[in-house]
Symmetry: C2
DNA sequence: CGGCAGCTTGACGTTTACGTTAAGGTAAGC
DNA sequence: GCTTACCTTAACGTAAACGTCAAGCTGCCG
């Protein structure tokens, strides 16, 4: 029943971050590993949260934002007030993400356009070179 | 023929940033406004670049990355070497953006899932409340 | 018991992306 | 000529997200 645990170094190695990073995340409430004496003991739940955090980072969100998102998954059991608040939060995060997605689409479209123009120019240069008998 | 110009304050107001930000962007090569004496004079090209920069920021890219992208649009005229280098860069940026897009899709999917579970819980709580004769 | 590997908590250093004075130039209006 | 509004550079301050020591526990091996 998913009882395996990890040390800080193991988790760091596996996820490609440093131990310092994991301690930092704990210090700021993004992770809550168990403690055995002083030692940290990470469970599978911490792995899930860590994945969320790292994905958030890839998306360029500040840790404060990420913390809210992680908190949403943790607090998904509650009474009516909590649930409606959570639903509101979901709406907020979703619209942020959709804004980002549309920014990405736009940029990808412009890149495609730029690429097309580049290829056209290359062809033109190529044929001009050919006209002059230059090797490509 | 698009000859209108803007002062630093006008541009700042319009794009919702401070003048300090625009000076900072110039200092780091993201913008190159004309100079009349000491004064900066912004043209429509600067507006286009600024839009690129701000979109990059919304996407959470560091300014160094953004600088490269902006530079790509500036340097789209050149000889063969430049063009193939630019095409390589386009490939790099595109794969970055596609990675991000897939991260976003994943997160949106998880949010949708979370939302569904929330709504289910709400319904359950609602009917439980109704069973006890409690107003919703 | 010594020693090492791996963990711990501070605490200060670093980079990024500006904010915030400070100190002064400039053109327009009265 | 003086004020006012807007601009300039220079320089120091700041928050975020760790990196980088320093100094000390902890468990095990020989």
């Amino acid at each position: 029943m998913d009882t395996r645990t990890w040390t800080i170094a193991e988790l760091a190695r596996e996820f490609g971050v440093t131990a310092r990073t994991l301690r930092f995340y704990e210090e700021h409430g993004l992770l809550q590993p168990e403690r055995r004496g002083l030692q940290r003991v990470f469970h599978s739940g911490d792995r899930v949260r860590l994945e969320l955090v790292l994905r958030g980072k890839r998306l360029g969100f500040p840790l404060e934002e990420i913390k809210k998102i992680v908190g949403m998954y943790d607090a998904d059991t509650g009474e009516t007030g909590q649930l409606t608040y959570l639903l509101d939060q979901i709406t907020v995060r979703r619209s942020e993400l959709e804004q980002r997605r549309s920014d990405i689409e736009r940029t990808l479209a412009e890149l495609a356009d730029l690429e097309r123009r580049c290829r056209d120019d290359l062809v033109r240069l190529g044929s001009a070179a050919a006209d002059q008998g230059v090797r490509t």
